[in-house]
């Protein structure tokens, strides 16, 4: 599994996969809040008009209408942008979807800094943290288009609340069409012995580029994709770290409460090692192009390389 040049956004998988599922006879519906075109749930509505409900600009109602639809026996997906689809409706997700353990899949798009020019108000960087903290909620962060398709299918196959985080920007292809996502499994994309780079979402591609750059310097990095943020693939992550002895996490999300925090919690409890977290360092985003933003906020491949250098230096100092 290596990257090729075929770029596609994770959100592009959303509407398409819902149509496929409906074609297969799965009773899926989508509820969106005036962003059905952007999230691509509109594709489901085009194929099956009764299966898309657009509630207008009303995200709280969106979540609870989906809750009601799930109570009638349907598998209900919600849309909107991640910033509104989680933050604006957090109480609805908490007190209705999660507390009642309903078959509602919170699957907004446009998560993270990759929304780009829309700026800090729209760049949702705390959603993993919000969703991860909720009892009964499971969290998936797919890293490419095929992973997003697999994540949606895994969400459908799993009763109860699931959060699927998707983005607006095109990302390099990492997986083939036959990829199947599993709970609590990390995927070793590149084997190595010197450092573990655990990444999710668009940072998986950056991590692979960083590994190439590190190889040129003689550092053999292991890159693992961690789409299942909750439940976390503890065994897979610990197995990799036992081999490499140190870890760098990379995510397009705040270092507070996201993948980096989850791995830090895991290693602190089970296998204390040096760790560096690449992610948003407790700040809002800003307007800009994706490449500019990745560099500006130190989320690009060179930033991951620097983090690897730091973590290995700390390892060596203590040896």
């Amino acid at each position: 599994m290596t990257m090729d040049d075929t770029s596609k956004a994770t959100r592009a998988a959303y509407g398409e996969t819902l149509v496929e599922l409906a074609d297969e006879g799965v009773d899926v519906v989508a509820v969106d809040a005036d962003l059905a075109g952007s999230t691509t749930t509109k594709k489901l509505g085009a194929a099956y008009p009764m299966r898309l409900v657009d509630v207008g600009i009303a995200e709280q109602n969106m979540i609870d209408v989906a809750a009601g639809l799930s109570l009638s026996g349907k598998i209900a997906f919600t849309g909107s942008f991640a910033v509104f689809g989680t933050g604006r409706a957090y109480d609805q997700i908490r007190n209705t979807v999660c507390y009642s353990k309903l078959d509602v899949k919170i699957a907004p798009t446009h998560a993270g800094i990759s929304v780009g020019p829309d700026g800090g108000s729209h760049q949702m960087l705390e959603d993993i943290s919000l969703m991860r903290g909720l009892p009964n909620m499971r969290v998936l962060v797919p890293s490419d288009y095929h992973a997003a398709k697999a994540a949606i299918r895994l969400a459908v196959a799993t009763p109860g609340p699931v959060y699927v985080r998707m983005g607006r920007a095109s990302v390099p292809r990492i997986y083939g069409a036959d990829y199947r996502m599993e709970w609590e499994r990390a995927i070793v994309l590149r084997e190595g012995v010197d450092v573990t780079i655990a990444a999710c979402g668009i940072e998986v591609a950056q991590a692979l580029m960083a590994a190439d750059a590190l190889a040129e310097r003689g550092i053999d990095a292991e890159v693992i994709d961690v789409p299942s943020i909750k439940p976390l693939p503890a065994a897979d992550i610990l197995a990799s770290i036992r081999k490499t002895g140190c870890v760098v996490t990379a995510e397009e999300h705040s270092v507070i409460g996201g993948l980096g925090a989850a791995v830090a919690e895991l290693t602190a409890e089970h296998l204390p090692v040096f760790l560096e977290r690449v992610g948003m360092r407790d700040s809002f985003g800003t307007s800009g192009s994706l490449p500019e933003l990745l560099t500006c906020f130190e989320l690009d491949a060179p930033a991951i390389v620097r983090a690897v250098t730091r973590v290995r230096a700390r390892c060596h100092r203590t040896l």
Partner: protein
């Protein structure tokens, strides 16, 4: 010695008097048995069951709150006649032996803090034993402080965070309608949601109001328990919340107004609301917070305070006695 002997006597007397009144009501509404066909008579007697059940439910509510030591009597008592009419007046199609029957009508208590009124109705109906009411708000009880659908049969969805029930009800009504494939009444279950008047200050309620009218949800009924009191004062004074009927009409809802403590009127209006298929119906029920217990009526401080044992005894005196399960509980030393 029976500490509440005199109260028990009063209860029997009150019940006897109520039965006489009910018979009178039935006679007035549908004539004598000879003057009507059997079905009307049966329907009228079923309807007349609700006030008796409402009385029992009020006693249950006071008893369970006294045992719990916390909870919300005011809004439970204001909604008692409404909920009794839904469950015992022949409005809701439901069966306690089949709480997940797909064909059942749904009731969503959006004002989840009035959980005691829902628990009283479910227990009186037979969803679970009356004696379980003594576990309200206790560790490991199925009777959580606010309704938890994961643990208690008959609770459709967990509620407690205000403003969400109407959205849930709307989604459910839409789902049932599309699953049923037929908008004709009788084919699709009706979804009833009970909201507090203070609750409609939540903006989400109006998102749901717009949505439901736009979707022509003819199987959705919102009942507003309009007691004009919320924790911090009168709804009409705190946020100028008046003209609720006009507000719903302005959003293209069919609106019915009713005295929320008049069983016969309530039954008529709720039946009409269920039969109306063109769109969602709002039933604005004028109620008195704490209804049935003199010292609680229209008193804001009884929103979220449990009665002491002595206060409960006074309340039982006014409500025709204490529930049997409660006296057993007291005698068993579990109070």
């Amino acid at each position: 010695m029976q500490p509440y002997g005199s109260v028990e006597g009063a209860r029997v007397e009150a019940l006897a008097q109520m039965e006489v009144n009910v018979e009178k009501d039935v006679a007035e509404k549908v004539g004598t048995p000879e003057g009507t066909d059997g079905s009307e008579r049966v329907a009228a007697i079923e309807m007349a069951d609700a006030p008796l059940k409402a009385m029992s439910m009020r006693r249950d509510i006071i008893a369970m709150l006294a045992l719990a030591g916390s909870g919300h009597p005011g809004g439970s008592l204001s909604a008692t006649d409404i909920v009794a009419e839904l469950y015992f007046g022949g409005i809701l199609t439901h069966d306690h032996d089949r709480p997940t029957d797909p064909a059942r009508d749904r009731f969503i208590l959006s004002k989840g803090h009035a959980a005691p009124v829902l628990y009283a109705a479910l227990a009186e109906d037979g969803y679970f034993p009356l004696s379980e009411l003594s576990t309200l708000r206790k560790l490991h009880s199925r009777l959580q402080g606010h309704p938890d659908s994961k643990v208690l049969p008959g609770v459709e969805v967990s509620t407690g965070s205000l403003g969400q029930g109407l959205s849930i009800a709307a989604g459910l009504a839409l789902g049932l309608m599309s699953s049923g494939g037929d908008r004709e009444k009788g084919m699709v279950p009706t979804v009833f949601a009970l909201l507090g008047d203070g609750e409609i200050e939540e903006g989400q309620v109006w998102e749901a109001v717009m949505f439901s009218a736009h979707q022509h949800l003819g199987n959705l009924v919102a009942i507003i328990d309009n007691n004009d009191l919320q924790i911090d004062g009168r709804c009409s004074e705190l946020l100028g919340l008046t003209g609720i009927a006009e507000r719903f009409r302005a959003f293209n809802w069919h609106v019915l107004e009713v005295d929320g403590h008049d069983s016969v009127a309530l039954n008529g209006v709720l039946s009409q609301a269920k039969a109306y298929t063109k769109g969602p119906v709002a039933v604005i029920a004028r109620t008195v917070k704490g209804k049935g217990v003199s010292f609680m009526e229209d008193q804001v401080e009884w929103h979220g305070k449990a009665p002491s044992a002595d206060q409960a005894a006074v309340a039982f005196g006014e409500l025709g006695g204490m529930p049997g399960w409660y006296s057993e509980c007291i005698e068993g030393g579990r109070a």
